[in-house]
Symmetry: C2
Subunit: 681 residues, 2 copies
């Protein structure tokens, strides 16, 4: 290697170090250690390999880059700024301040070029697995001989923390099984975590571990030798049928004379004096936030990015000429737009469900809805965390996803690519991988497990909500109604707990029509994740006069007149899911004794809460006492001003479901008695 090259690399890396150190110092908050330690690796990747166009962060065939150790956010901010993204120096000066484009951890949607929100460790890595999967599937679906319009890599930086987290196991093990050869994970192996030198609590042989997952492993490589890293990345990009782990040995806080290699470099500003000493050590003569023009020139990726995207655009034009329908479909898919007639598909499916009025479990109702929707939407990519036959997430349109020995997705006997994923027993991994699939674009991911295990994946659900990603969770076996599996599997608090996550739509439909509408709303919510809570046990169809208000989250299901009473309702029973039938029976029982009540079905509190005040009042009139019924904790329901709540505030029990409903006094008799008690006050 020439000494000029070395000088150039050094200048590039030190520009990152200076920006990271100075921005953290300016904010007096942040993490200088990782950016300073990974600066040379970043030179190798971003300076020599990454395919991207700073002018268009949405270019579909760009390489994806994920900073899984998101606390090192100044690394990516520096890179985006230096390579030419719309991220001005003033934003870097404003690091971690209100409304800046440089929040404490990288946030999708805030900063151009940030592909996913990271910070909760391990999840960025799992997102990257999802992105690499999406790339492979889209390539298989859309590329044609002579036309390679989907062909990019996914690179991820990650630290010890990411690799200690359990989700790294789930995501990387399945990445190996999926043979994601275009996934390159670079491990910042600096031997330091917040509590100090990791040896007493982290002794994994990471190479051996990833080899056990079926990955190629390169290194350890000196992470401060740009040439070696360059070669390692070049080799990784050539992998035929395996993802690659590159172990980069680095020094955290590299450049700081007194903090490099220590936990002190990790999560706090170096201090003005140490910043000065670091400048001296790096021979960096520039003031804070002053980057020499030579560094900008070396980093500038605008021209090369423009050229790369133009070349792709030309290829895409040729493709479009040869395959106009495929090209249009590709454009629709990556834009995340549903087919124009999809709204009608939802209406048709809902009407059909209403007409057939079947008594089935809502998990089965979900599968029936999915039959229609997976047929209409080739972008739907289903899956289950090893509970396919229980979650009923598969349909006749979704063959299981499989890969051949060369790592290519296989087609079934009918020539169809797989669209239903066996995620294995990896709930958190599944959720975070789905986030990555959604972020990549081209698919709408959905995946199933038991509702109780939403606990395992909870933070990834939250991340989807924070990122406004269209990811759909199918949570079956939604209460004590699952019966014999007992309290570990009975989700008494989970419906309420999920509803607390800002930006997540939670649906607990009562019958087939509500389930169809719930799916329809979830699929049509381009910027919002949804969770569907579904029963294991059969639920009767709830007769209704219309379907249009279901999508508003709650609606008047039955007025007193419908059970033969002419008076106006004296109370409202609010119910969800499997308890709507209890409300209906209670209404009939109360009618027998001349008490008129209204039944409101509320499949989605989160959606209902967004309706107009007028609509909300029309469903829940002022002055009418409200009684809520749900087979779960009662705390949540008081927000609707209820006079009483019938629910379960303890854990469930192991027994057949009918015995449990009786045991927990979740009966129509008790609902009716509760209404009478409220009215007698």
């Amino acid at each position: 290697m020439s000494s000029i090259l070395t000088q150039d690399s050094s200048l590039m890396a030190n520009a990152i170090r200076a920006l990271a150190m100075d921005a953290v110092q300016q904010a007096n908050s942040g993490h200088p250690g990782a950016p300073m330690g990974m600066a040379d690796v970043a030179v190798a990747l971003w300076g020599r390999h990454l395919k991207h166009n700073p002018a268009n962060p949405q270019w579909p065939d760009r390489d994806r880059f994920v900073l899984s150790n998101g606390h090192g956010s100044m690394l990516i901010y520096a890179l985006l700024h230096l390579t030419g993204y719309d991220l001005a120096l003033s934003e870097l000066r404003n690091f971690r301040q209100l409304h800046s484009k440089t929040p404490g951890h990288p946030e999708f949607g805030i900063t151009p070029g940030v592909e996913t929100t990271t910070g909760p460790l391990g999840q960025g890595l799992a997102n990257a697995v999802g992105m690499a999967l999406a790339e492979k599937l889209l390539a298989a679906e859309f590329n044609r001989p002579g036309h390679s319009i989907v062909d990019h890599h996914t690179f991820v930086f990650m630290g010890d923390g990411c690799l200690m987290e359990g989700i790294s196991h789930e995501a990387c093990a399945i990445a190996g099984a999926w043979k994601l050869n275009k996934l390159v994970a670079i491990y910042d192996d600096n031997g330091i975590s917040i509590d100090g030198q990791v040896a007493p609590w982290y002794i994994d042989d990471a190479g051996k571990r990833f080899s056990a997952y079926g990955w190629d492993v390169i290194g350890p490589v000196d992470g401060h030798d740009v040439e070696l890293m360059d070669r390692a990345i070049a080799k990784a990009r050539q992998s035929a049928a395996k993802p690659t782990l590159i172990i980069a040995k680095t020094t955290i806080g590299k450049g700081s004379p007194n903090r490099a290699g220590s936990a002190k470099a990790h999560g706090e500003a170096l201090g003005l004096e140490e910043c000065k000493l670091t400048r001296d050590a790096l021979c960096w003569t520039h003031e804070p936030f002053v980057i020499p023009e030579a560094a900008y020139e070396l980093w500038d990726a605008k021209a090369s990015g423009e050229e790369a995207e133009s070349a792709w655009a030309a290829r895409f034009a040729t493709y479009k000429a040869a395959h106009p329908e495929l090209a249009a479909e590709f454009a629709r898919r990556v834009a995340g737009e549903l087919p124009a007639d999809f709204a009608q598909t939802v209406v048709d499916a809902a009407v059909a469900a209403h007409t057939q009025a079947q008594t089935v479990a809502s998990r089965k109702a979900s599968q029936l809805a999915l039959e229609a929707f997976t047929k209409a939407l080739p972008e739907m990519l289903g899956g289950s965390a090893d509970l396919t036959g229980s979650n009923l997430t598969n349909t006749s349109s979704t063959p299981p996803l499989r890969f051949d020995a060369d790592g290519q997705p296989t087609v079934d006997a009918n020539g169809r690519l797989g669209r239903h994923i066996n995620y294995g027993v990896r709930e958190f991994g599944m959720a975070a991988i789905m986030n990555g699939v959604a972020l990549h674009g081209g698919h709408i991911p959905y995946g199933g497990t038991f509702l109780t295990f939403s606990d395992y994946s909870r933070n990834a659900i939250r991340m989807a909500a924070l990122m406004k990603s269209r990811v759909i969770h199918v949570f079956t076996h939604d209460s004590i109604g699952l019966g014999e599996d007992g309290p570990t599997h009975q989700s008494v608090e989970h419906a309420a707990a999920l509803r607390l996550i800002p930006g997540l739509d939670v649906w607990r439909p009562a019958d087939t029509a509500e389930t169809v509408i719930a799916w329809g709303c979830a699929l049509q919510s381009k910027h919002r994740p949804s969770a569907l809570l579904l029963s294991r046990q059969n639920l009767p169809y709830a007769p209704k006069s219309g379907l249009e208000d279901i999508a508003k989250g709650a609606y008047v299901l039955a007025e007193p007149a419908e059970v033969g009473l002419k008076q106006k309702a004296r109370a409202v029973i609010i119910a969800t899911g499997s308890e709507v039938q209890l409300a209906m029976h209670a209404q009939a029982e109360l009618a027998q004794v001349g008490i008129p009540v209204r039944v409101v079905s509320m499949p989605s509190t989160t959606v209902f809460d967004r309706q107009s005040v007028a609509y909300k009042r029309s469903v829940l009139p002022d002055g009418l006492p409200r009684i809520a019924v749900e087979a779960g904790v009662t705390d949540y329901w008081w927000k609707y001003g209820c006079a009483a709540v019938v629910g379960i505030d303890t854990y469930g029990e192991s027994a057949p479901a009918p015995a449990l409903f009786k045991h927990f006094n979740l009966t129509s008799d008790n609902v009716a008695a509760t209404v009478r008690k409220v009215l007698s006050k």
Copy 2:
């Protein structure tokens, strides 16, 4: 091996198979595959190695056995029944029925001999790591030359599902770092999970993986060859400084002619016809639930168990004679009793905090409380998921836990054993390991992370609550008050979400005194886990007239008279944690304009909810409008009949904390304005 031995083993194994198959058939619910597949391994372990006394499931020095693949519950029920525990055949006939001792998944506290509740996969394995850690630490603390009163193994059975779960990575990696040589994990490697043959989604080389963690690996061994399994276990028991993984190759549903080796064997009854065919194939001529006397005799562990415990009791008597104080302390510790003077220690610490009235972050207040309590309670075993300096879980009494090359816990310069664990970045693993430590007995585990990452460990927190285990979670950085780290780290919904978990006490103290009391209550709650939600930022001491009501979860902190108003309060402001100061300021502001309000500090809603109606009314009088203030989602607070709630129903932002409180309108001005608005209605 002699053929008689083989015949005996076969009879023993088939007794398990018959009971499992017949109980599942009787319930028409359950999982026959794992018990039938693991029956021979169980013969080797329970028939030849396990040290236990069926007459006394509480014998402190028994081996611990964990069925991490808890769906195979009939395996452990059969073993407990056959070896002589208080588990009658009638209970097995009553499998999965209401109030039986044989719930769908094994539940601690229901069935004698069940050491932990399992079912949520991977957690049993992590519990076992905690148990093995507890054994090692107690042995180091209490054994003396010539006196080995703590010396037992922890055995765990686990399936593919457990090993796919991320928590298996966290728990097993740290078990390797801890050199838990008395931990023996036996992997039921049957190649089948619910979705079928695992190969498309699970290709891990488990041996290589565990070897990368620093484990010894034995096998693959034929899991149906009792002699080979016997030898493998014998070898594993001799491991000097490493935990051991034994890979047992088995056939799921072994014995069933048409279902063995297939996913159909996993989770449903075989059906009467297949039960009959299985009987024929096994040459098992007995009716359902009829076990031949010969099988009972072979399995009976009552005499050997009695003998083993007696021998230990004799050793313990000798130990007691030589070390009477240690013996008494050991007895106290394993009984989980606090020292008699501990209640006074809490009072003293609370009074000291009250007197000093320091302005500190509540995480710092927690560390101050811990200084007193870790000194008083040698059983406290602290830790942090790589955030020790942030969570402030360590004290001058808790040296870091370290192990030497031989796997022995080391002592520090003052001869003290480690009592603070660096768990690494493994929140879920930490929580489940703490559950295991608590279940083992002898320690009170506590561990810290950021509140937002309670999501990662949520299901283990739930499991502690379900098992009524004394495990204490220290969750710092408890709202937007952490500032610049931004929305990924700001736990707007977590306080509310944790309060929904039945049986968990959640504390969000406002100052040093409340923090001391919260810790005191948590430590004194022998049958309940607790979570302490603590601030990153400083909180002023809230002047108060007394301390005794804090332990009731909520109390009147300030009446109008205390801000110079003689009228009775016209409203109540309820606040928690960092928002109590806002309530106090608002009270003063309102006093300026002649509006008298009461301030209630409610550090624990869950504790307050258990108080008498009279006490609750005394704090929150009927007819007085209530306004709640908390820097989190508002939904939860309506349960207290609030007229208004001041909170945050969106995600946070990245900025310095003062800017955020202003941005989100969490100000005393807004609280005061809200009160005025409520009163003007």
